[in-house]
Structure formats: C-alpha cells, structure tokens
C-alpha cells in the first residue's frame, strides 16, 4: 500500500476492511450454519463453507454470518447447511456442494426464495 492522498482511497480501505470487521458487530440479518462434523467434512463441507464465504463476499453481503457446527444428524444428505433469517423459519438444505451453495445464496438470501429441491427440513423440530 502506497501513500494515501484522497478521501476515495480512505473510503476504499474502510469498505474493504469493514467487510471483515463487520462480522464482529452484532445486528445481523441472519446466519448460515455449515455442519462440519467429521462426516460433513468427509462429504466436502469445507469446500461448501469456502464457497459460501466467497459468494457472500462477491455479492457484498455483509449482514449474514457464517458459523460452523457439528454434525446435524443428517449424515446421509451431507454436506448440510442451515439458513436462518431473523424472523423466518430455519431451513436446512442437504447435498450442498459449492455449486448448490451459490444457488442457495442467490435465491434464498438475495431473492428470498427457498430452493425447494434441496430442502431437507423446515423449522427446528
């Protein structure tokens, strides 16, 4: 990083860093939990996790946090993720490979439409 001379350059650093720092602040719209038990990781949950974070970053979505959890008990449909938007019913999706992860974000998170074919569970039960 060279010398900063303008407000624009300052703003750019602020925005870029805020993306990283913002997740530390509260007041999120919702969160995505990725099941990262041994079974999940074996099924590729790590790639899914990376795809989710990358996609959120690409789309400049900073009000959704991403957290990891242990096995959700749905081993046969791993990798699984749970999408919780504040005030809405939590939705658990199965077979979430990186490609499906991107679909879920674009449709569920951005457009507010559930991805019917991947849903394995609605609500907490």
């Amino acid at each position: 990083m060279g010398k900063i001379k303008s407000l624009e350059e300052l703003m750019k650093i602020k925005e870029d860093t805020l993306k990283k720092v913002k997740m530390r602040e509260e007041g999120k719209r919702g969160k995505i939990t990725v099941a990262m038990g041994t079974c999940g990781i074996a099924a590729g949950a790590k790639d899914t996790l990376n795809a989710i974070v990358e996609t959120l970053n690409e789309l400049n979505i900073d009000d959704i946090s991403v957290v990891q959890s242990g096995c959700m008990g749905l081993c046969e449909v791993e990798p699984t993720i749970k999408v919780e938007i504040n005030g809405e019913v939590p939705i658990t999706y199965g077979h979430v490979n990186p490609e499906n992860a991107r679909r879920i974000i674009k449709s569920h998170i951005v457009a507010g439409e559930l991805v019917g074919d991947l849903i394995v569970k609605k609500g907490e039960e």
Partner: protein, 602 residues
Amino acid sequence: MPLETNTILICAGGACISAGEESVKDVLERKIKEYNLQDNIKIVETGCMGACSLGPIMVIHPEGVYYQKLTPEAAEKIVEEHLLKGRIVEEYLYQGDKGKIVPQPQKEIPFFSRQVKIATRNVGIIDPLNIDEYIARDGYFALHKALKEMKPEEVIQVVKDSGLRGRGGAGFPTGLKWEFARKSPGDEKYMICNADEGDPGAFMDRSILEGDPHTIIEAMTIAGYAIGATKGFVYLRAEYPIAIERLTVALNQAREYGFLGENILGTDFSFDIEIRIGAGAFVCGEETALMHSIEGKRGQPRVKPPFPAQKGLWGKPSNINNVETLACVPPIIYHGANWFRQWGTEKSPGTKVFALAGKVKNTGLVEVPMGITLRELIYEIGGGSPTGKKIKAVQTGGPSGGVIPEEYFDTPVDYESLQKLGAIVGSGGLIVLDEDDCMVDVAKFFLEFTVDESCGKCTPCREGTKKMYEILDKITKGEGTEEDIEILENLGNVIKDSSLCGLGQTAPNPVLSTLRYYKDEYLAHVREKKCPASKCKALISYVIDPEKCVGCTACARVCPSSCISGEVRKVHEIDQSACVKCGSCIEVCRFGAISKVTPAIE
C-alpha cells in the same frame, strides 16, 4: 480471499495477560490448527476490554459471545464445543446479578450498557496492529477533514466549542491551550503527548495506547496542524513495553500510508512523531519536568509562568496533552463539537474513563458520561460491595485527590462538583472504601507515595510532606496527640500554598480531605487509642470468643508466632504479648470465633 467465519477477540490488556491470557491463546491456536480451521478462525489480541477483574476475557464473533475467567482447559473446551459444534459453553459466560448467565453482557449488564465509549471507542474491538481496522472505524477521516477542509483556526474553534477539557488531571480547556500555542510567536513548535501516567491505580492511558495506538497518532497530527508544529513527541514510561511496541508499529504504518512524514495526505503539511521513554518517576508527568526529561535533563519541574505554550521544549512554544484527552480529538473533529456535547454536563462535556478499584464487585476501566453520579458509578456499574459490607467512601484522583463520604454519592462526577467536596476528577482513579478501611491509614498510604516521589527541589514539598507522613505514622501507632492533628492541618495548607509544582501543591489533599470528613477517626486514634475500622495494627488485638471456639486447633496451627494455645476440643487462647497481629487466625477460623477489638489489650 478471506474465509473467516469466526473472529476471536482476546483481551491482551495488562490484567488479562497477568491472569494467563497467553497460555489461553496458545491453546486456542494449537486446537484450531489441530482441527485445520486456522484459515477460518481469526484470533485478534486487543487492548483492555475493561472488566479486568474477570480476566482473561475473550469475545467470539459473529455471535458476540463473551467468555471470562478463562483457563487453558476452558480454551480447549470452547474450541471443541463452541467453534466446532456451535454450542455455547455456559460455565465461562458472564455472570450477571443473581448468577444469571449472559452470553452478550454488553447489552444487559449495567457495567457494559451504561458506558459510552469515545476515548476508548476502539479499545478491545480492533486489532491494534492493523491500521486498516482503525480506518474501518473512521480512523484518519478526521485528519483528512482537518487538513483538507479546515484551516488550523477552524480546527481549534471546533475543539474549543466541544468544551473538551484536559483528562490528565487539571481539566484545562484543550482548545484554549491549542490557541495559546498557535498564537505564541515562533517558527518551530512542538506537540507533546503526555503518556507518563504516574497515578497509581490508573491505567486508561496505557490501555488506549495498547488497544488503539493510531488514535493518538491521528490526534497529535491534527493538533500539530492546528498549532503549527512539525514535530511531535510521545513521552511514555519504560514500564509500558507493550504500549511502546504497538505505538512503534503504528507509527511505521502511519508513515507508510502517508499520515505522517512529508506532505501528509498529499498536502503541504509535514509532521512526524518520536517516542521518548521516561524512567517512570511520578514527577516526570508534570509538564515542565517532562519537557526537561525530553531535553535530556533531570526531570525536575520549574516555576510557571512561562507556560509551555510560551516557552516549552528547548525554549520553543509547545503544547502538551494527555493521552485520553487526545483520544477524544479525532471523533470531535469528525462528528463536530455538538456531537461531543450530547454527553456530559455544560461545563464538563463528554465522557471520562475511570479506573474502578477497591471494594466493588466489578473493578476495571469504565468510560461514562461526565455528570453521572458517584452512586451510579459505584453501585450500578461497579456492582456495589463484593462482601456485603457497608461502603463508606470513595477516594478519587489518586495521590492528588481526596475522599468523598457516602452521603455525597449523589454528586455528579464533574470537575467543579468534585472540587467543591475537596476531591478531584484527576486522572480518573476511583478507589472504593468500606468500613474496614481506616481513613488515617488511607491518607498515610498516599502520603507515603508523594514522599517517595517528591523530586526534592523545593523545601515545603521535600521536608513538609515527610513531616506530615511522620505525624500520620505516629497517629496510626497510637502515639499521636490532638496537637498533631492541628499541625497536620496547618502544615498541609502551607505546603499547598508554597510548593513549586503540582506535586507538592496537591500532596496534602488526601490528608486535608480525610480530616474534613473523618476528623472523628483521627480523634479516636489520638484520644482513645482506637482505630474505628480496626485496621491499625498497634491499636487492635485479636481475641477468641470462648462461646464460639470449638477447639479445632486450626488457628494455633497457622499462627506464625505460636501465640495461640489450647487443647483439642477445648477453648483456645491468644497470648497478646507474643501476637504479631498478622490476622492468619481470623482467616482460618471457620466458626467466627476470632474477632478484632480496639483499643488494643495490653
């Protein structure tokens, strides 16, 4: 591409480090690596988070879960449960009133929710070694605004309008001081940051420098621009190695980004900052002594005037401000004077950081609006007495301050109100005292400090404080007379009026203020040889209540002078002539059979 899903903010403030922060961090790092999550979980060491009595502390984001009193085992469990499985580990959460467990105490517990953070806005929240995080929280935007949109006079006007007053002790209006330095003739001027922080018990300045070093750099550069200085010095004590280290890193980052050095932000303003290390003498915090010390001379004060604004460092006009004062400057410039005035009182706007200590549940650093009452500070934020004993007074302002009795706890905390009561805001030390504290002893404690720290240049301070100390010592030993009390009062007033610098001028305050409110305690010491708080060793004896003693022998076993005798299951007895009054017996007795009596039994 950042793939972080969790950030762990772990407090690396002094208290948390000594409570074992590093070993907790080591375990976290090892476990996170073990699960191959090092790319997803980031650990940031922050400055002091404030709740020092609960350390080591960490906060896990995005959830904002707050863990306290951590151990290496706790760290292991938190990685396995919380980070891996998303399950909160309850046993290390914050315990609120009535043992209620709270994951995000910032919102629910008065200790956190009543605070307003301006000077410490970033401390405990950002990575102090990362300049981008400072920028993300509007850092250096005030510098940009000042240099590009404002004339130096306008900057000074905003600071004047904000009503900001010096947080280093005296409470002098900051904008006014800047104006004097600006108007003082001379091409070369200096901007100094006083980070000496000599007040025992106060550590807000250290915590700001450790947790948010860039705020001081930004503020000093703005001040340098305002007064027309090209060179700045931070005078930091050698006992603060972490602050020195982090400020050094921050200075380099700021130079790299063009916030320091030649042509700052592309303007024609140039300014740079150097760190000067002090040896840690209390008097070196006094502004003229501090400047002597920077010049390489002995840190002794001189007579004012001339003031630093007229004749400062190397005889040039200089401006000196305290760390906490400076930390308020960038947000004031950025948000404007009225923004700052929304907190505090008309004459004392804004907030003040206090170091709460003594007989309160929550000790540590708190930043609150000026004008909050002592009662709110001590009971709501401090959580009141940890033992249930009656809180009797609060000592404010460190060795230059005074005590305020409980009946005045509804006084708002601001410069004028405390001064009226014979105390001061000072640098913000607050020591809560309860019925076990003896006021003569408290005064003696602070006087011992001043006697040690007096530089010896002027006689009233060098000889006078020593004399006062000797009299206090006599009184606590039961050898004082009523005449001694009179001498104390007279001597105190003479020293106040005739000392050369602020050290001597304020040294008698603890004595004079305890005499003002607790003369009866002094009189009890000299007339009846009694210490009402049962604190002064020479005036108390330990006795065993034969009704309660079951003869368990615990006391006899711990007694270092073997002065307790008695057979098993029979009442024990203390031989007063051999007792050294260490108090070990009272601590081990599980039956409450031992108590202190005053005056002492011959």
